[in-house]
Amino acid sequence: MKSLDKIVEKVEEAILGYSVLLMAFVLIGSVLSRTLLNSSWTFAEEVGQTLTIIVTFVGIGYAAKKVKHITMSAIFDLMSEKGKKIFQLIITSVTSLCLFYLTYLGLQYTLKVHELSRVTPALRIPMYLIMAFVPLGFFLGAVEYARTFIKNICEKDVYISTQRTIDQIGEAYEYSQQNSDEVSVKEGM
């Protein structure tokens, strides 16, 4: 179970990171080709849009793990440890159920698109393959919140994701802080 979790996380990281890099590459290439060679890449737009769908939906579960989803935590922050625990149980269970429902709707929609057998205009990729990322993303998110719910029942600490307890909220900022510290070290040129 632990190793499956690790593998899923690595795959998510790879899909997300490389999708953004590929997006940048295609868009830059298209602009350069338009300005220098006077012909833009016809597939740039649909590749960009496809990658947008992939990043948006595959990111649901990963953002849940890293506590990156936008919330309004002002009231939550003011509560006692016990209140937070109860809140967290409600939030994770309801969120998980909602996401499972959206997975179901997404799956139905994907099947419908499959029936229509539409393809993208330039590269002729079957649309249902792209749409499949929608239920996949909702499913990964639903599983992530369900696991957080279970973790909150089984363990004493208040978990805001499978990887973080409430005491670790600040870690969300760690990445950016490290970066700005690095700047002061890397002076010069």
Binding site: L16, Y18, L27, I28, A63, I70, I91, Y109, I169, E187
Partner: protein
């Protein structure tokens, strides 16, 4: 119907649910209860359609460019540059902070990124030079919101995706209001520092200034590419964003050598996560606005609020109030995605220019995000500087008053927003 929609939305938001849940569940509940004939698969279709506009691609590109520059040296060079020019006058360091936030806003388009990139290094310098704790924090979080109005701005892209207005025009229109705010902040800090007898720093020689200009010239090219490219129509906003990434890569990879190629996948991952968290809300917002327009909720709400034939001014004041209050509580992107479709049709009917409305909406989003009790920049500051809530908000009122004055100017004089666009 309105009650059901709003109660699900507000209760779930306040309970700390991830915002995508209330934004999808509230419209789904309304559709199921009042329009059972509508196929729920339409919901998925709307969610997917929400992230399809081509201009949205500009968002991850601008974030990626900013992430690359944050990992490198751009912000530090810009700071040094501005400081050598205004550092020696009263409130010089404070003015440096505000001006660099404006410049950096022209790179990143996000207030949180600006607080981290400019606020963190500047805060230490300000404290060392004798500025008070509360003053520096208020200055930093208020200056950071100028980034929302200076292109590129993610909030502005969201407004345009929802309304179909031109991103290029709105970007250009935000420049003068943004600079007006900077001017207000600079004048205030000049007199505030004079009154508090903050010691002056040494006046630098012209040679020293040229040296810092030389170091900053490459980063300064970034806003030029974006602004001139979009203003002349040579680049679409998405293309300008892609060129921004290319420029950031050339600068940080080859010129400054501050990042390595192997760092890129880590930086892109951080971009992807932020993008996903924002775009899932855009997707949910698309479902939300489809459902409310299907149920004709905007007409109901605005008729109840404003009567049958409201004047343009009363509409603008209502819009201002709603966005301002909304942004005090939740993230500006959520407010823009939810409230814009409610008020937009009415504003258009009253003959308000869509770009003028966009500038007002963006400015209210900016003010709301620094207004207690729940403005989200306040919480960014609490987390980043680990200061208590009361200290963070202590010196905010003066800034909020200045911003309200600027709002009034922008509402009363549409030319301020519209004069740069044809």
């Amino acid at each position: 119907m309105v009650l059901l929609l709003m109660s699900i939305l507000v209760v779930m938001l306040l309970l700390n649910f991830p915002m995508m849940i209330p934004m999808t569940m509230a419209p789904l509940a309304v559709m199921m209860k009042y329009f059972p004939n509508v196929n729920p698969l339409m919901a998925t279709q709307q969610i997917v359609a929400g992230v399809q506009p081509y201009v949205l691609l500009a968002v991850p590109m601008f974030i990626l460019a900013a992430d690359i520059m944050c990992a490198g040296q751009t912000s530090r060079r810009l700071l040094d540059f501005v400081e050598t020019f205004v550092g020696h006058i009263h409130g010089g360091l404070a003015i440096t902070t505000a001006a660099t936030c404006t410049l950096f806003g022209a790179i990143s388009g996000s207030t949180q990124a600006t607080v981290v990139a400019i606020g963190k290094p500047m805060r230490n310098r300000l404290m060392e030079s004798g500025y008070e704790d509360e003053d520096t924090i208020a200055l930093i979080i208020c200056s950071a919101i100028i980034a929302l109005l200076i292109p590129p701005s993610i909030s502005m892209i969201m407004y345009c995706v929802v309304t179909g207005a031109s991103v290029g025009d709105l970007f250009v229109a935000g420049v003068i209001p943004g600079l007006t705010i900077l001017l207000f902040f600079a004048v205030y800090n000049y007199f505030d520092a004079k009154r508090k007898h903050i010691p002056l720093s040494r006046n630098l020689t012209m040679a020293e200034r040229m040296e810092s200009l030389k170091r900053a010239i490459a980063p300064l090219g970034f806003p030029v590419i974006i602004f001139v490219g979009i203003y002349t129509g040579f680049f679409s906003p998405t293309e300008a964003a892609a060129m921004g990434v290319l420029y950031a890569l050339i600068l940080e990879l080859f010129l400054f050598k501050s990042i390595k190629v192997k760092d890129l996948s880590r930086i892109a991952l951080s971009t992807a996560v932020v993008t996903s968290a924002v775009f899932i809300l855009v997707a949910a917002g698309s479902l939300f606005s489809w459902a409310i327009s299907y149920a004709k909720i905007p007409q109901m709400m605005t008729a109840a609020l404003l009567g049958p034939n409201p004047s343009a001014l009363s509409i603008l004041l209502t819009v201002t109030a709603f966005f301002f209050i909304g942004c005090m509580f939740v993230d500006s992107i959520v407010v823009i995605v939810i409230l814009t479709p409610i008020f937009y049709p009415l504003a258009m009917k009253a003959g308000i220019h869509p770009i003028h409305l966009g500038v007002i909406v963006t400015l209210q989003a900016a003010i709301g995000s620094i207004t207690p009790p729940f403005g989200c920049n306040i919480f960014t500051a609490i987390a980043i500087f680990s200061r208590p809530f009361m200290k963070v908000i202590k010196r905010l009122p003066a800034y909020i008053i200045m911003l309200i004055i600027v709002s009034a100017l922008i509402i009363l004089f549409p030319q301020l927003s519209l004069m740069l666009i044809s």
